[in-house]
Subunit: 124 residues, 2 copies
DNA sequence: GCAACAGTTGAATAACTATTCAATTATTGT
DNA sequence: ACAATAATTGAATAGTTATTCAACTGTTGC
């Protein structure tokens, strides 16, 4: 399958003398495409300063949308849009109480992930 | 500072009856802006399928750029661009050997973060 | 020196995303 | 019913980013 030398014609740029044994051995261990994508999606949900702040705030205490807007000094619309992303990823849950909607973290798992990241950053 | 009712004029849209005690108590615990940004940056480095695959592959074994290109079926240029991002975030390190450049994970910390994410995804 | 190749880089493009704005829904109190 | 306000939503915009392409650097072997 993988020839040791993978020659293409004249103009170089994609010839490639990779090591087929090394590549094959790693390929066997690779997770399915779907897993890799889901993992990237999860990290993507945390890959924004506003969402990081929301997650941190909610790890301290349940808060409504306008608490968060006030705390972060952004509009409710912005908070609401970002909360939708976190909701879709099952990172936060909510309960309604009259006009207000109170958000909190969906489980401890996300807190672990977050804290692991925090430890990484604070050890720099 | 925070008045209980934060009235603005006529046209609504940003009035906000947030709870100042709740907000103040969380605000005290918030990490500095820089920490929040660094954290988002770290997650951003992992927030892409190609980079997730690179990190996973390197967690198995040290690999050169064209190994990675072959494994992931993308061009060396693409791999190189993404490796630069990971290098800048100190997530991977490299050593040169002749023409080849071998990359590996910078430390175990990143592996922990990655595994924590993997556990989250695989428990869905 | 020259050809071949590994890797890097900058520019361009296409796709994606955060925020803003305006409109809408739903709930509370009068 | 009406006014006020919490929250959500869709569209538009501006900014960001992944990939591609072409050119380039540096190393090896002839």
């Amino acid at each position: 399958m993988n020839k040791t030398v993978n020659k293409t014609k004249e103009h170089t740029c994609e010839v490639d003398l990779f090591d087929p044994k090394r590549v094959a051995s790693v390929r066997k261990k690779m997770k399915p495409e779907g897993t890799m994508q889901a993992l990237a999606e999860t990290f993507k949900a945390l890959a924004d300063t506003t969402r990081v702040k929301i997650i941190f705030a909610l790890s301290q205490q349940e808060l409504c949308v306008c608490d968060l807007a006030s705390l972060l000094k952004v509009t409710k619309s912005t908070v609401s849009h970002q909360l939708r992303i976190l909701r879709n990823m099952r990172l936060v849950k909510y309960r309604k109480e009259g006009k207000m909607v109170y958000y909190s973290l969906d489980d401890d798992h996300i807190k672990n992930l977050f804290d692991e990241g925090l430890r990484h950053v604070e050890e720099m």
